[in-house]
């Protein structure tokens, strides 16, 4: 144990040590947080403690889309007002947030929980592709939107899924790759720019 902690009461030094294990929290930040919590009203501390326990006890994967959820099926899958004929395929649960923020998409999702990465030994079987195909087989889905990241692994994964889904007679689309809003042509790389040219649209 750190010698700094010797003069500190045991419960505090334990809290400091635990906070210090979190990403981005250094020893000083850990100390500051610990003393802040010490002075905060008891119900605040209890709220925080419960919130931390809550993510472990109540969360699981949605049996339909494999997103992280506290109810099964998840809020999105259970929502009758959403378009159940479209499925948007993403790499990780966190990728759903930015897509939802756009408010442009009202279909369902499917989380792969990873991406094909041969150099790291991650193969298609390690992803939740099987579950996606099962969903497509049993439902009246008309479109699969591939929203994996626009990098080498994401492209490979999308191409692989496209190859499996197209024979089922379902429309497969890929998120457009183009220039970011607020960006600058000068700094665009050739792949982005050539894809943006290919996907140009009538104004």
């Amino acid at each position: 144990m750190n010698s700094d902690f010797l003069s500190t009461a045991k419960p505090i030094s334990r809290l400091i040590e635990e906070l210090h294990k979190l990403p981005g929290v250094g020893p000083k930040t850990a100390q500051r947080l610990a003393y802040h919590l010490l002075q905060a009203p008891p119900e605040k501390s209890r709220d925080l403690a419960e919130a931390i326990l809550g993510i472990k006890e109540n969360l699981r994967l949605c049996s339909v889309c494999l997103n992280i959820t506290d109810s099964d099926p998840c809020g999105i899958c259970a929502d009758e007002t959403r378009d159940h004929m479209k499925i948007c395929v993403v790499e990780e649960p966190i990728d759903i947030l930015p897509l939802e923020r756009t408010r442009k998409y009202r279909g369902l999702y499917h989380v792969l929980h990873g991406v094909i990465s041969p150099g790291d030994g991650i193969k298609p079987e390690d992803l939740r592709i099987r579950e996606l195909l099962d969903r497509l087989g049993s439902n009246s889905v008309t479109e699969v939107i591939l929203a994996t990241n626009p990098n080498v692994e994401g492209e490979a994964t999308s191409m692989y899924i496209q190859r499996l889904v197209t024979p089922l007679g379902i429309r497969v689309t890929r998120l457009a790759r183009g220039l970011p809003f607020g960006g600058d042509l000068e700094y665009a790389d050739d792949v982005t720019l050539s894809r943006a040219l290919e996907g140009r649209q009538e104004m």
Binding site: P118, V152, E155, P180, D189, V191, S194
Partner: protein
């Protein structure tokens, strides 16, 4: 005093996440061999580095020496090998090449010849459809260049001239074996006269000439297995990307 900034060409052979939005990039450079460097903010959509430091991109880079890792300050792609990116099969071959180069090289050892071989192989793969041939040629030339040139003229054990007919190949002995030495050697496998001839020629010729050799399916498979075994013996491991390459291959065959 030496300048902290330097320029070089490089092919990106590996990327890992690093912190919030940075990438730890492994480069195979034309002037300094394998170098690991940080591409700051490369994962943000508006990053000016992003697409120029993607895997399998040939880029012109400006780097700044750091205490541990160098930092990429500017990047401009020279060739993105778009045909490779657009094909799942070529992509799997590309992954394999990067893993191969990474496995056979040490950091900060300048190797212009290997850089040129690597770059040419990617160009050939992007230009032609014969990926298997490009990979085999690369493997053989890589072994040759790194000091593992297989002995293909004489028996690697007794130095007798190899005769046409049944011969053997042993990664452990570093090349072909004559019938007498190869037969009792449990680690050796047979090698056909044609495979011997192709490999001998490829060790001496450029890729254009290597393309003139006609390869039947059987011969191509024989050479592939032979090279693979040899590489696995030298690296003492199977490369991870092989499995996916094989899987795609067999799925393709089932399709056809």
């Amino acid at each position: 005093m030496t300048s902290r900034a330097y320029q070089t060409e490089a092919i990106i052979i590996k990327r890992q996440k690093f912190g919030e939005a940075d990438r730890l990039v492994t480069l195979f450079t034309s002037d300094f061999g394998k170098v690991r460097a940080i591409a700051k903010g490369a994962m943000r959509p508006k990053s000016k580095l992003g697409g120029n430091v993607e895997l399998l991109t040939h880029s012109q880079l400006m780097l700044a020496r750091g205490r541990n890792l160098d930092i990429i300050t500017q990047a401009q792609a020279i060739d993105n090998f778009l045909p490779i990116r657009d094909s799942l099969e070529l992509m799997s071959g590309g992954f394999y090449l990067t893993e191969l180069v990474d496995a056979f090289t040490e950091e900060n050892v300048e190797d212009r010849e290997l850089f040129d071989l690597f770059l040419n192989t990617l160009k050939e793969m992007a230009a032609s459809s014969d990926m298997e041939r490009a990979l085999r040629y690369f493997e053989l030339r890589l072994l040759n260049h790194m000091g593992y040139r297989p002995q293909l003229q004489k028996c690697a054990n007794c130095s007798r001239q190899l005769e046409p007919g049944v011969n053997y190949f042993s990664p452990h002995q570093g090349g072909a074996l004559c019938r007498e030495c190869g037969y009792p050697d449990m680690s050796a496998r047979t090698i056909s006269v044609n495979a011997l001839k192709v490999l001998r020629l490829w060790l001496q010729c450029d890729f254009t000439t290597a393309c003139r050799v006609k390869l039947t399916g059987n011969l191509s498979r024989e050479i592939k297995n032979l090279m693979r075994e040899n590489i696995r013996y030298l690296l003492e491991k199977q490369l991870k990307s092989i499995e996916w390459m094989d899987q795609l291959n067999s799925e393709q065959k089932n399709h056809a």
